[in-house]
């Protein structure tokens, strides 16, 4: 154990430990290198916040879609072709003039992969996980997200199967933009709830 000062051998560098586990499992046929490469490529290229942004933009321009999205997130994102690991039960929470939503996983790092890809380090780190449930307003200010007076902050701790996406408020002055242009305005942080647009 790392806490044990009697540990006889030096801990192997992380690169060698990862390779050791990969090699052991590949040799046994439990996993294969091609699928590893393929998974990495998928999340490096096809799965990321641009997916969530398309969902958000669609909800902004299509009220019926927005209603379906809020009623059954999983089904509504499937309409746009999104689903897969960590997307089996998607819940969308909507920011309004009086409510601001922010998402966390205090126990590990649950995150809506099909819509946002993999979480940034700060989302997985002790400061965010420990603080945002206790002092969400201080965390939001620290991250540059100032809230108007009178807004209720709702924190969502992803502790079971649901994975949360925040539906940000459509920015003022965006009336003339088309759906594709709107999608470009939507940031990852606004869909976690630590930024407003």
């Amino acid at each position: 154990m790392s806490g044990d000062h009697h540990h006889p051998a030096e801990v192997a560098p992380i690169e060698r430990r990862v390779a050791a586990l990969e090699d052991a499992l590949v040799e046994r046929g439990v996993v294969d290198r091609d699928s590893i490469d393929q998974f990495v490529r998928m999340y490096e290229h096809d799965i990321g916040p641009m997916n969530g942004a398309r969902v958000v933009a669609r909800a902004w321009v299509d009220d019926a879609y927005r209603a379906r999205l809020l009623a059954d997130g999983t089904a509504a994102i499937a309409e746009l072709g999104y689903g897969g690991p960590e997307g089996g039960h998607v819940v969308v929470v909507e920011n309004t003039d009086t409510v601001h939503n922010v998402v966390v996983c205090t126990l590990c790092s649950c995150y809506p992969w099909p819509l946002l890809g993999l979480p940034p380090n700060w989302y997985k780190s002790p400061p965010y996980r420990s603080r945002v449930v206790r002092e969400p307003r201080a965390v939001l200010v620290e991250m540059g997200c100032d809230l108007p007076d009178g807004v209720e902050v709702r924190v969502w701790d992803s502790s079971a199967e649901a994975r949360y996406l925040v539906l940000p408020a459509r920015p003022a002055g965006s009336d003339a933009l088309a759906e594709e242009q709107l999608a470009e305005l939507v940031t990852r942080d606004s869909m976690i709830g630590v930024a407003r647009l």
């Binding site: 006889p8 192997a12 586990l21 969400p136 620290e142």
Partner: protein
């Protein structure tokens, strides 16, 4: 278990430190580890409860001082060693050095899951609007009931479809499929009056096993 991973509300970790233009992976080993982890999930090497608990059992200081994907490495390596697929010795030989694993589980059979506490053998069925109290009883095993809401009273705002209780699936062959509930807790109820604005709330998704109904007359 009351492990260091159960971070909600713990103070002293400092500022949030977002990295500008953060890459998806910071090094090739993170990339390999992530793809490897996903491959092991698809290969059925562990369920969610087993995987998470294999990380929760890391040494607390190791957990807090290692990069996130090292948690995944340590947890998955622990799982394959515990299942007998690979020996710790093989991993150390291949890595040419020590390969820290997580500590062994304190629960052999799931017998310490919270549903075995007296009077709690049948999970309650509840509806939106119901007032519930979170069980106070800690477990030595895996649970998805965060410590910061233990003993607190909240209101159900969403009923989620039945799914496998992690407290059981992490520790053996027993399974129980039951609803989970999204429970809204007022900030004041959880953190006291010194907490943020009274209007604020935190929502936690909790399996039925963790909850007991609160009588209308009962005070917080």
């Amino acid at each position: 278990m009351d492990g260091i991973h159960d971070l909600g509300g713990i103070e002293g970790f400092g500022d949030i430190d977002p990295e500008a233009d953060e890459p998806l992976f910071h090094a090739d080993w993170e990339r390999r580890m992530w793809g490897l982890a996903l491959s092991t999930f698809f290969a059925g090497l562990s369920n969610g409860g087993q995987f998470r608990h294999s990380i929760e059992r890391m040494d607390a200081v190791h957990y807090l001082t290692s990069p996130y994907y090292e948690h995944w490495l340590t947890g998955i390596a622990t799982g394959v060693v515990e299942s007998g697929l690979v020996t710790a010795g093989e991993l150390e030989r291949r890595a040419r050095g020590a390969f820290p694993l997580s500590r062994e589980s304190r629960v052999v059979s799931g017998s310490e899951a919270p549903h075995d506490a007296p009077g709690r053998r049948e999970p309650c069925e509840l509806a939106v609007g119901a007032r519930v109290r979170v069980a106070r009883v800690p477990t030595r095993g895996h649970t998805r009931c965060p410590r910061y809401v233990r003993g607190r009273i909240g209101t159900i705002v969403r009923v989620d479809p039945p799914s496998s209780l992690p407290d059981l699936e992490a520790h053996g062959d027993a399974r129980r499929v039951e609803p989970s509930y999204c429970v809204r807790f007022e900030a004041r109820e959880v953190w006291g009056d010194s907490a943020a604005a009274a209007a604020d709330a935190v929502h936690v998704d909790l399996w039925a096993t963790y909850l007991e109904p609160v009588e209308p007359a009962e005070r917080a």
